[in-house]
């Protein structure tokens, strides 16, 4: 191969290598964003009968070692897990049923029982959708703790593509 023909390629590679990692590189590399304590698992898309109440199971997962208050926590002032859907054209959340919580006590105070969700939990929703495609944009609000510490109440989006036929 003629060297001069390969020269532009060599120079290109050299400059690409140089610019790929500047010596003044990104020293302010931001640490990874803290993962949410609860993640929405599925469904991402459902096909339902239009204008009729349809049951939908929404699956969530609480992070390992964490718990969130159930929908009906024991004790005043505790933040319940709730699901809300802002008014949006074409989809209505007719009813939401939360699972019962399980008892949890902080090791240092075993007598004080809380009602919590851990691991996976399923929220049963009933919705009514008008004919067409709708992006359901609901919100799950919860407040998470581990065995000795709590984090502030938090909201995660619950997005489902609802195809009503």
């Amino acid at each position: 191969m003629n060297f001069f023909a390969a020269l532009p390629v060599l120079l290109g590679l050299a400059f690409a290598a140089q610019s790929a990692q500047s010596p003044f590189g990104n020293l302010d590399a931001k640490p990874a964003k803290k993962p949410a304590a609860v993640s929405y698992l599925f469904p991402e898309q459902v096909t339902v009968a239009a204008d009729k109440p349809v049951a939908l199971d929404l699956h969530f997962k609480v992070g390992d070692g964490l718990h969130v208050n159930s929908h009906q926590p024991h004790g005043e002032g505790l933040v319940p897990t709730t699901l809300s859907l802002p008014d949006q054209n074409g989809v209505r959340l007719a009813k939401v049923t939360f699972p019962p919580g399980t008892d949890f006590a902080f090791p240092i105070d075993p007598k004080e029982k809380l009602s919590v969700y851990t691991g996976e939990f399923v929220v049963h929703a009933q919705l009514v959708a008008a004919k067409g495609d709708h992006l359901l944009q609901a919100t799950l609000r919860y407040q998470a703790c581990n065995s000795n510490t709590c984090m502030p109440p938090h909201e995660i989006p619950v997005a489902i593509d609802v195809i009503a036929k």
């Binding site: 060297f3 020269l7 060599l10 120079l11 590679l13 050299a14 400059f15 290598a17 140089q18 790929a20 990692q21 500047s22 010596p23 590189g25 990104n26 020293l27 302010d28 590399a29 640490p31 803290k34 993962p35 304590a37 992070g63 390992d64 070692g65 964490l66 004790g75 005043e76 002032g77 505790l78 933040v79 902080f106 240092i108 105070d109 004080e112 809380l114 407040q143 998470a144 703790c145 581990n146 065995s147 000795n148 510490t149 709590c150 984090m151 502030p152 109440p153």
Partner: protein, 210 residues
């Protein structure tokens, strides 16, 4: 001959450029690793850690950041008002179950150590709807209710979020900073610890502990 010299020069140039890129890459990775390592040595809290109560904070050994916050009754309180006192800043919220467990201990400990110049300042991290007077009044009322239920005798300051950054943005509750009489943070605790751990830290703040 001339052509060979050009070829050699270009090859040396390309190799040199690649070497510089490699060196820069290595330097950058080293610096990023050092920066991340420094960050990790701070009080980075992991959600499922079971040992938060024993973690430390980069604030320990430094002057406690000053602040001015308002009590439920509207009185302005600054940390500098407590100059010469040993102070425990207790970050809590009405929705925080472990905070409710430790509060009776704090009340007892403040009573026990107040003759030695020890005081507690509760700092509420409950959300405040500052843009809506009606909701703000409701928020304050909820906090007041929590204070009453827990029978908290020490001042409870509102809007902890406004000082969170200065205190490391830990975002976990309860969190306490123990400040000695010279205004230096001598200990910090994250999460629910035992009463004796709290007492050890209070003793450090009043100058009796190790």
């Amino acid at each position: 001959m001339k052509r060979n010299a050009i070829v050699l020069s270009v090859v040396i140039f390309v190799i040199g450029l690649l070497s510089v890129a490699g060196w820069a890459n290595w330097q950058n990775r080293r610096q990023v690793a050092a920066a991340l390592s420094a960050k990790q040595s701070e009080a980075t809290l992991v959600a499922d850690s079971a040992t938060m109560g024993h973690m430390t904070s980069p604030l320990v050994g430094r002057a406690a950041p000053n602040f001015t916050l308002t009590t439920l009754s509207g009185k302005k309180v600054s940390l500098t008002d407590y100059k010469g006192k040993a102070v425990q800043l207790n970050f809590w919220a009405t929705w925080c179950a472990p905070c409710k467990i430790e509060t009776p201990w704090l009340i007892e400990l403040e009573k026990q150590y107040s003759p030695q110049g020890f005081e507690i300042l509760g700092v509420s991290f409950d959300d405040l709807d500052k843009d809506d007077a009606k909701l703000l009044a409701k928020d304050k009322s909820e906090i007041a209710k929590g204070v009453e239920q827990l029978k908290i005798p020490y001042p409870v300051l509102l809007d902890g979020d406004s000082i969170a950054k200065a205190y490391g943005d830990t975002d976990v509750y309860p969190t306490s900073y123990f400040i000695d009489k010279s205004g230096t943070v001598v200990a910090a605790s994250f999460g629910l610890t035992s009463k004796s751990d709290l007492e050890d830290n209070i003793r450090k703040a009043i100058g009796e502990g190790k």
